[in-house]
Symmetry: C2
Subunit: 355 residues, 2 copies
């Protein structure tokens, strides 16, 4: 149902020429140059390049929250209740992601994609940017059974598309994604095991800080989860992988990523869990990759493997392991800086600088 | 003449307690946590911690420009004229550093520390934030003779202190440093060779992009420069190293760093050349190190060696090799983010989140 065009590279040489005409040695702005080029390629698909400036308009983050049945087996540092408590913390403005959105001027919406216990009417009324798109009361325990039904996968993708389309209609042209869900590094790791065919040793980490006993159990349960699956079906059908292993927040993020690419805007990918959604989105439609910017490398070691499967080198590497979209929010100023130099730096000619 | 106190760590445990009470897993904000702690240690030296918030007030960058006699031997991608042309570009707002200051809300001052030909009265009148603190018309060719006199070293340190004190008096509590000077990676490399006792192979790089023939000449000239020096005097007297090898912009940056530390504010160190100034400042007074934040790792490979001598791990690693303070300007949003989470994140208790 998603129609995503690959980026047309017909403007590529002209964009590079603009970058190379700026008053700096060739390539001296490092990764910011590739970032500016990519953004300009995305934004100039249908425009006249000569009159197009890079614009960063109403950057918005969608933070999807959901619960995970497997968390009841004690494979996280905190109980499932904390997912809901953190959603309330988001609405009251007290979480790290609130601070970084504030300091970097990012609009934030919090989505209940399926936490165990929905917010009460009073609780919801606190934040105006709360959206309820529940697919259920947390996914099933994936070590035992399918995470969700096919119908839930379909509904989740549509929910992700719906909220993304809404923020784009409000003027957003760069989408940031974040998540909250006790137990969701396990779902992300299970997706990684399924696609990478690497061992659980390679694909499973400490999450936000579990001990070695919990880690050992986590690995065992993830191995169990993936062993339920049919290998040929994994490779043939990404929706099957979502149905079997994804969280409600992950499936909605997959829908959000696909919708953003379909509508031709860039998506700033956060850490381990958001990257797992990106991995599935790219399996659904490889053209999606053209629209993705990777914000940061997580402290979760398996993130490196996931990133390499997407041939991605993130902008930041600060040892973060928090989620919520904090890495994406922290990377936004680099996106703004890339736009700023592309739009406003003088050329050698205009500045009278000797080449 | 600089009286610099080491940071008193009496608040350290209390600051860590504040950070650990925030609604996030322990350590989950990675390097931002250490950054917040360091800033708070600096800012709480004389304050009551309980009522002190981290403040980032009027972040200001000083961009010091000067010329280098050795550049006449053709060891850069551009001729010395470009130093002056880029100063004019700064004043007209067309350089990369202007763009990043604009996008990250940083005040910028450009200092003529000794370019070959001073600006005319008309040229100076363009930018209101131009300061003339000339030590001469470029340093001597260091491959042949001393860079400058002892009197110039002394005057340079005082000039650096003067402008730093002025911006602090205007309300700045975080100083960013940048530079422009065709040939100045050679001076920085020479300082590195002198202090590290590593080979020119280890200490000299491509700067902003010279070819292999130029690189070979550059290495030879830097080896010549350092071979003029007395090893015991290098180790005993940092002012001697400045006199023999530093650029006018480097010596003024050493003065700026010492003055900022003396007055108890943090300094955001840019790339290879600014780091060479930091290296000398720390040799003059090791207490300076407590006030330094390293913004980015340059694409110049020897920067890694220099950083390791200062036990520094920079915030960003974006393959930049431009100078001007661009890396420092790009890192400022991370400093703001660190302050934001330290000041504004809820605690587990206040947010009602289960520990």
């Amino acid at each position: 149902v998603f129609s995503i065009k690959p980026l047309n590279s017909h403007n590529s040489a002209k964009i590079q020429q603009v970058i190379d005409s700026k008053t700096k040695p060739l390539g001296a702005l490092g990764e910011l140059e590739g970032l500016a080029k990519k953004l300009m390629l995305i934004q100039s698909q249908h425009g006249d390049l000569a009159t197009t400036k890079l614009t960063i308009s109403k950057p918005s983050i969608l933070v999807f929250a959901a619960d995970h049945g497997m968390a009841e087996q004690g494979i996280s540092i905190a109980p499932s209740e904390v997912t809901r408590q953190m959603v309330l913390n988001f609405l009251h403005g007290g979480a790290a992601i609130n601070c970084f959105c504030q300091s970097n001027h990012i609009a934030m919406k919090v989505i209940d994609a399926g936490i165990n216990i929905p917010l009460t009417t009073t609780e919801k009324s606190v934040g105006e940017d709360f959206i309820e798109q529940r697919l259920g009361a947390g996914i099933n325990d994936i070590s035992k059974t399918s995470a969700m039904t096919e119908a839930q996968v379909e509904q989740g993708l549509l929910y992700g598309k719906k909220i993304t389309t809404a923020v784009i209609n409000q003027g957003c042209n760069i989408l940031l994604l974040g998540e909250m869900g006790i137990g969701n590094t396990s779902a992300a790791s299970a997706i990684l095991v399924a696609y990478s065919q690497q061992s659980v040793e390679q694909c499973v980490g400490n999450g936000t800080g579990i001990n070695s006993q919990q880690l050992s159990l986590k690995k065992q349960l993830i191995a169990q989860a993936v062993s339920r699956l049919d290998r040929e079906q994994i490779l043939a059908d990404p929706y099957y992988v979502l149905k079997e292993l994804a969280g409600f927040e992950i499936v909605q993020m997959v829908g959000a990523i696909l919708a953003a690419a379909e509508q031709g805007i860039a998506v700033l990918i956060d850490g381990f869990i958001v990257t797992s959604a990106a991995l599935v989105a790219v399996k659904i439609n490889p053209n999606v990759r053209d629209y993705l910017i990777f914000a940061h490398q997580s402290n979760e070691h398996a993130h490196q493997l996931m990133l390499s499967m997407l041939e991605a080198k993130p902008l930041l590497n600060l040892g973060l392991r928090l989620g919520e979209g904090t890495g994406a929010a922290l990377a936004l100023p680099l996106v703004n800086a890339a736009a700023s130099f592309y739009n406003d730096m003088a050329s050698f000619e205009s500045a009278g600088v000797t080449v």
